[in-house]
Symmetry: D3
Subunit: 299 residues, 6 copies
């Protein structure tokens, strides 16, 4: 057998190895929180979209939830506004909210464009469409930080209807309060609330870290697997801080509300999503409920 | 019978008079091109949304197509860019396109918000979602005016799917070419192409004029009813000029492609849409196909 | 703005005011007990049918239940039979039952005709069709009053199937016992049992009185709103008598079995049904469950 | 094998013989014009209903169309009216029409009752329900004979909807003209028009004669099978007269409009319908299209 | 009335008498265990298939479960293998299993052929198709008897899907264990497990005996009706032995798991199935739950 | 990046490359004629089943058609029968047909078993089930060769119903004539007839040769792509002989009846099916219609 043929057979082998994973997640909903470097680096961006599109095509039902991050700051500056912060949180006054919503909308349609380009039906919505995300005003230690919302209700029927019509929904985290005013929502919170509401099988966070560390300063303390109760214990004992704290609380929350598995993935690794789903390569940190085991097959 | 009661009976009478109209348009698609003053004046805006929402609730299937108009110019300025024009047409370079798409997105979600506030399920999409609007690059007398697109295909299935799921679709006129690049589209053109693609019963343009005049300088020459061939004759004979020319050509085009009736309405009149549909009050100019008569009932 | 235009705008305003009510009752079932003067006066009759047809067209699901009243007596006389009464109740022997059924059938098809004339799909059935109404023989203080039935079972599936096929069902109160013999049923009872069985949102009685009075001889004691328990108290304390007593008991019964609101309307007021549903004009007496408030909006 | 067992085996044999017929008419629509003695004799009536109910239960889709015949005359007399005739046709003035409709309604519900008693879902409608039968006024040799209608349109969707909901529709021949006035219709005409509109497989007339005779005075000339063109020839050559003439014309008409087979059965023979459908016993006269043969199986 | 006609009327009478039975079992699932002489005698075989096909055509949902019995032994010999037995049970080694599966498959398709010949859609499956029957290895008093399986799971969805597509499923009792190896299953056990899983209304065993006897040597002790608890008592008291013991245990088991009635029929009586279902002729032994009575109607 | 990681990324790359192919064949029917060495070698067999199962899981709708080949001969010998041949064709007398059907049934269920083991719903049927394959007797140069059938009708509804219920149908080539007698069918013919009847996108033959040669003795003359008309020309000019002749005629026939592409694959190459569908590696000979090009993407 010549070298070329061997190469082809190797390819066939990879596809065959994907079989049990494809089977396992058939018609399951997977919520992907898309953010960080993977949203900025053009090559990584293209790869994330390829990954999600492939998931859709082989029978899964992915939903993308994305933020706008640095792009919002860039535009706030561009229109000559100045950022204000309280407790390290951006104060979102009406003008800032307007810019943020515009930027999130722009990012949203760009993702739609990339998915459509791969031949899959995408639809970009915000939490206003169909009143998907209803919020209450959020305060930071009692201080008014403007139009920042806390989700109190997810109208899951909207997403089910779009999935039924074979759309890949791409959601940006903007919501409305009872007076139908616009609020910005933390994208991690939105992804988590949506995963709970649609009873997702899996929730994956694309981040800029390798995962959860017991000691953030020591790369060797990366934790590759955590039960929900272990995660809670880590928090209680003070090992977790910074941006990881609310993220991990979200993960625990999701697990306790019916999501079977949450992943904190390193979005800087190309195709980290595919690798996580189709191989036994453990990437980042997996938070599991009590009955799940870390690896689906082998190892 | 006291005065109060009489007032109530009068109200009942109005509702009863709406009966035959409600019946006639039951489950019919009505495309509303929303633009002009009715998009700027807050009171008029609220009234247009009330009108469209009512149409939805009593059994019609409205689709809103909107532009962004002056708001785009305002934001182009705000971010420190300068507008360029060729033959009176805005040159849409990549940066302008980016701002235009953001502004259209903002307007789009604002309309969603207003409809949702009235308790109706709305979804705001652009021509990128589900690849609804596919375009070719448009030239102005052979000159490159940037990312301005001419619609070559409308993916009507997207709108039918959303209507089936009981959404009121609100569409902003942005599309993609074969290389999936973003283009701005004239909102009148988009409304017309969509009306044709979904085989709408009716297409209504909310404008800032009273209708079509034989002599624009003489208000007495307002034409309240035009057959398609009469309209064509008016154009050939040079009576129609300015912004009205392409609009009227769009109307003729729509009529000849299956839309039964097109209306050029004066969007500055409160509830002009309701008045046109539910009463015999002739507003603006109606372009009809050969078998339609101006008034549905009476007069 | 000229006077004509103002008039049109007023019309638009009425339609707009109907918006929240149309929304509130969308796809809700409303049972209308149709009887009294509104069945005899040709103008009132036409108006009731217009009202119900409008309800159907704007998305509600009305069901009409009607009696035959004076028309039965007229025909019993016409064929040379004599009416017998026990305790003020008509004794319905076999011959009387035959005439009653024929008259009710005639009235039933006449209503169908009026609804069809307004372009809405109606179907006239009796409680025999699909065995909709199953009865036990009813006695009056232990005395045999013939073929007068007490409903023991409503086959709601029949009505759901007809509603699903977009019919407006018009029901006359005739039923069958276990031996499939024909019985007359009190139309108020039939309307109430049907409202319960289909879990109607609203049940409205068109009557020949203004509503419930604390003192029937004093028009000033008209009660415009009653909670179920208040109604029961009124009965216990002896304020309610005559034909109102069983009617009010029916209302309480309906409320306690899932109907949210029952109305005793004065059928002699033109369009009383529309006024009650689309405006805040309080007509007659509303019996409410504990969580409902008298006026849906404002006032 | 004892005598009892033999008897049981004979029974099994009859059921087995029905197999190919049951198969042949599975889900086919069979319109039965029910009239004549079979409507008066209580035993025959019960048997017709048993037959039709059995057809329904084994998978056919029967529709009954019935007249009121002698019962109408009886009630016209009962209420003290006098019958008038022109050319042997009853003049149906408004009062007569009212009585006729009442009597037809009574008969209709009585049939519903009998079918329901056998456990099958029946619904009794007239041509007014869902505007099933639309008519033009009919004249007799140019003379006004009152409210007698000629069918110009059958709204077959009504019947398809009821069949889909598993009802056995029982239709009485009353219709409406363009002004929604009530008309009496010849039941044979109604059955024929309905059979055409729903594209029935079979149309059966229950009559009081044995079938079509070449010479009505000579029982030996009974014709058991007729092609449509033969029937037409018989008419042209003057063999057919009296009430048989319009009936036979109806039959030819039905055959030429897609019904495969029409039967003129002797309704005085018990279970004539079952015998015709489930055995090779030739009853009455069969009018066939060109491709059908008289006996389905054997003989 | 001549003799011929009387004969026809008698036929009609038989069909009419079937009415209440047809009604009672409409859309009900009936599992028929087909075996014994009725599988060998060509005439009886044809009659069983006619019976089941008729049940299908008149609206029941039969499922046939069959064995292969003597045919398996014949082929085992034909290919030169020798039968081994432990405790009177055939030892099913791999080669025997291979032959058994082939023979069962042949018998299965032959039955399909016979049903198709009568114009009904049949599909022949084994317990491998759709993994319908999952088994554990069965031991006989602790001894290994080879590939003999005990059903641990029935995938009823397979049968519901085939019934929904209007197939008559014909099942041969072969299953797979957790390692997807092939096992033979006792056909009585398979029929019983399937009847439980699909919640059949009725389960009928075609056997070569007349029914259950209190004293097998005394034909007069045939029991025509047994409650489940009576059957259990008979077993406890030692009246039941031989092949009847597991069969009766299966019957009790089925009754206790939702099947309303189990019949042990004498398959040597022609059309025993039809007689049992359509007449009051009591054949063999009926095992009933506590609320059923032996005869559906009369007697 | 370490070696391990690179390996994983390579895997991801393979999956990503499959994207456009998965998309192209989404919900398309692919008929696979399974035969030759790939049916005998256990490893190849497992790989074919993996390939087909993967196709099913990623959204295609495969149908397997298989023969029994050498296994039939083996069993004919085993039961002591002697093979007879006319013109090189096996004479299929009744006894041979019985054995052939049994062997095909055994092979059929074995394939079901392998597919089920991979977690996909399979159903094994012959052409008797649902009367899928109806045949006429086939003669070889006028000589009687027994129960060998030529397909005259494929009941495609059976396959559509099974696909709709998410089964992977596995078909063995046995059919029935008008007298419902059993016939053997050439598996290539059956695959071709089925592909035509279900309007398959693709038909693939797994064979024991590398493809079509211009000169079978010269491996360098392997033809990798053929238009239908070219294939016909090759036949006319006498280049094609032996078993390839009918196979190629089948291919042309399929192409001319709506199948877009037929492949003659070398079943001895592991995963030849996957390689053909998911990569640009040209395997064997592709017969194309006029509008198709050999490679879907690139090269």
């Amino acid at each position: 057998m010549n070298k070329n043929m061997q190469q082809y057979l190797d390819k066939a082998q990879v596809l065959i190895e994907a079989l049990p994973y494809i089977q396992r997640f058939n018609r399951k909903i997977i919520v992907v929180k898309y953010g960080g470097s993977a949203m900025i680096d053009e090559e990584l961006k293209k790869q994330v979209i390829q990954d999600v599109t492939l998931l859709k095509l082989v029978g899964f039902k992915p939903i993308i939830v994305h933020g706008g991050g640095k792009e919002i700051s860039r535009w706030v500056g561009k229109v000559g506004m100045e950022a204000k912060f309280i407790n390290g949180l951006r104060v979102t006054d009406e003008d800032t909210m307007e810019v943020a919503e515009m930027v999130l909308g722009k990012v949203n349609k760009e993702l739609v464009q990339l998915v459509e380009q791969l031949g899959v039906r995408a639809i970009g919505i915000s939490g206003k469409d169909g009143a998907l995300l209803r919020v209450d005003k959020k305060y930071s230690d009692g201080q008014d930080i403007g139009f920042v919302g806390e989700i109190k209700d997810v109208n899951a029927a909207i997403l089910f209807d779009l999935l039924e019509k074979d759309f890949l929904p791409i959601v940006c985290p903007v919501g409305m309060d009872d007076d139908y005013r616009t609020y910005n929502i933390n994208a991690d919170d939105a992804a988590c609330a949506i995963a709970r509401a649609v009873k997702a099988e899996k929730l994956a966070f694309l981040t800029d870290i390798e995962g959860v560390y017991k000691d953030p300063d020591d790369p060797k303390t990366l934790i590759s697997e955590l039960r929900a109760e272990e995660a809670r214990k880590l928090i209680t004992e003070g090992y977790i801080g910074g941006g990881m704290l609310p993220k991990l609380q979200n993960c625990i929350d999701a697990i306790e509300n019916g999501v079977s598995r949450v992943h904190i993935l390193d979005g800087r690794i190309p195709h980290c999503l595919l690798l996580e789903i189709f191989t036994n390569k453990g990437i980042g940190t997996a938070i599991l409920n009590d009955t799940e085991s870390r690896y689906y097959y082998g190892e």
